[in-house]
Symmetry: C2
Subunit: 355 residues, 2 copies
């Protein structure tokens, strides 16, 4: 085993005997991207109704409804996320009177047909033509197109967070160099125009001169490579490095040692996925330790958990990291923050139109 | 040199001494994707004017115009492509009378401010609320999200199209196997759910049992690997293979030989980019031969034209292939077809609304 759990909150993921190393086959779309597509394809630019609530038993709400070919479709945006709902027109109750005068169903009946939990009485129909655009850009602001992952190096005998941050770039092994190349491109930070992940690109090299970067499946990934960040002889904790890796949700630990890593040495509250990689033959042995509270995610890790240096293996590995980070957003550490962000965004829209 | 030009229409690209092997830094968005973004951000969901012409000196036209903060913006869609234009409101002529009654400029004056070539008199203002959606989906239909590239193998002494299609998969070299792995994932065609590039996925193995596939930067790429396609002992031309590779715009030729390839042996009219790859040390030497009429494209090929097997090299190579294919669309072989497609799409929209 390449890790020791001790009294830590991290647990290594179990390997799955049926899992395989594959490239990316399925969609990498985030939920908010699917919401955007659903709204664009079904509502936007067509006559539809938007209901807002600033305060309700479910908090602020923004609900879009359209009747499309006898079917009602709704996008229900709440602080928990968005739901894409569909219901047959015939399943929505309408009084004979409303049918006769083609008034459509009452909002209470419409909402209860979608879901029993929608507080219909708190909703206000808002007719402002700019609202559709605002709802769309609210979702757009939640799409994450860039990721920052920490990369630490453990040389012979090193087993702790402090040790993995204490190595000099001059003394890394050829195997680790090859691994950094496997991850991405070594780019010069001075004048860097892409995603900078908090690194200094002004040319004063406050965070080192280079970093490792890749554009993967359309996403930008910047790696905080500990040994490329400034080393401070006087600082045992290497705070300049910890400041970056300690704030990463995902940290890769390259183990150039057979000593198992002490998971309990991780002091960062932000780290949720620790991806341990150890050179093995022409490839890498992989152990993924996940903080308690992070839900399961794909791809599953095969048994033996070994991958090569080829494109498929790299896609598999980066896929694991990206999905691990996304799963972490749902943990108790981040879910309340994300919910709060949604609440602020929803309240902004609702208060503007309900004043 | 790994190729002989002879009397062929192909020319090897020159290497650039200043070019470097890099990953993907800039945007991979296609022009029609940029048009979609421009239209979505500036016009869609906001009150704006759409002008259509079914016949004009420029063929069918669809022009969207919006006045946004004192600036007129236009998206001019013609059979040649789309233009995103911006002009200061003050630069558009308006008579005193029109100013006084806030009528806005005449369409002739507005269009001539954007560009002298727009046949304003042929345009009709169309107020249909569904039109914006139709214009958007017209552009969406032109976005290309999947690519198919041929991959052929030349073993010792082979120098022609016929020879490169005549090899058995059982007798390929370990180096070529590694190259296929560099390209992507070997997937089973039976029941394949992704992009199939004309291959048989029904389970009857009409086009072999496996192919090489990758999802790269969000695009699907299927490789038509000649040696994985059925071999017919009785057919010298291997038509079952040529049927696929002969229809690919980009064909990769892996040279397990020092004999230069005879470019004049290429009989396909569809092939426009031939990417020759020869193993060299731990990497590959690359020669890109381009058919006359294909405009220049990035990334430039460095000198020496050698790349490794790492992620950056692979991004560089696939970037070259994708951009080579996109550049080929502008050649005389494809530009008229693409123009015709745009014409049909524009006429569909215009004739529906101008009848």
């Amino acid at each position: 085993m390449s890790v020791v759990v001790g009294n830590s909150d991290f647990r290594p993921l179990l390997n799955s005997p049926t899992a395989k190393i594959t490239g990316v086959h399925e969609s990498l779309l985030q939920e908010c991207e699917k919401d955007i597509i659903w709204y664009r394809e079904n509502f936007f630019g067509k006559p539809h109704d938007n209901y807002l609530a600033l305060e309700s038993t479910k908090g602020p709400l923004a609900i879009s409804v359209i009747l499309d070919g006898g079917v009602y479709k709704a996008l229900v945006r709440s602080i928990e996320g968005s739901e894409r709902l569909t219901v047959e027109g015939s399943a929505v109750y309408q009084s004979t009177h409303r049918k006769l005068f083609k008034l459509g169903p009452k909002v209470e009946n419409l909402m209860s047909a979608f879901s029993s939990g929608i507080p219909a009485r708190s909703l206000t129909l808002v007719k402002n033509p700019g609202l559709a655009n605002e709802l769309l850009s609210m979702e757009e602001r939640q799409v994450i197109r860039s990721y920052k992952f920490g990369v630490a190096y453990c040389t012979a005998g090193q087993t702790t967070e402090a040790e993995m941050l204490s190595n000099r770039h001059e003394s890394i092994s050829p195997g680790y160099k090859a691994f950094l190349q496997f991850l991405g491109e070594t780019i010069e930070l001075r004048g860097w125009k892409g995603y900078r992940a908090g690194l200094d690109v002004s040319g004063t090299n406050q965070t080192g001169t280079h970093a490792v970067y890749t554009k993967w499946q359309g996403y930008e990934i910047m790696f905080h490579v500990a040994t490329m960040l400034p080393y401070n002889e006087k600082d045992k904790q290497q705070l300049e490095r910890k400041r970056h890796l300690g704030n990463d949700i995902v940290v890769i630990v390259y183990q150039d040692t057979d000593e198992p890593f002490q998971l309990s040495s991780i002091s960062s509250h932000q780290n949720h996925i620790l991806a341990f990689v150890k050179p093995e033959g022409e490839g890498y042995r992989f152990t993924c330790a996940v903080k308690q509270g992070v839900p399961a995610f794909i791809p599953e890790i095969p048994d033996p958990p070994v991958f090569g240096r080829d494109a498929v293996s790299r896609d598999f590995f980066l896929h694991t990291l990206v999905n691990g980070e996304r799963a972490s957003y749902k943990s108790t550490s981040f879910a309340p923050k994300i919910s709060r962000t949604r609440s602020v965004l929803l309240c902004d829209v609702a208060s503007k139109h309900l004043k």
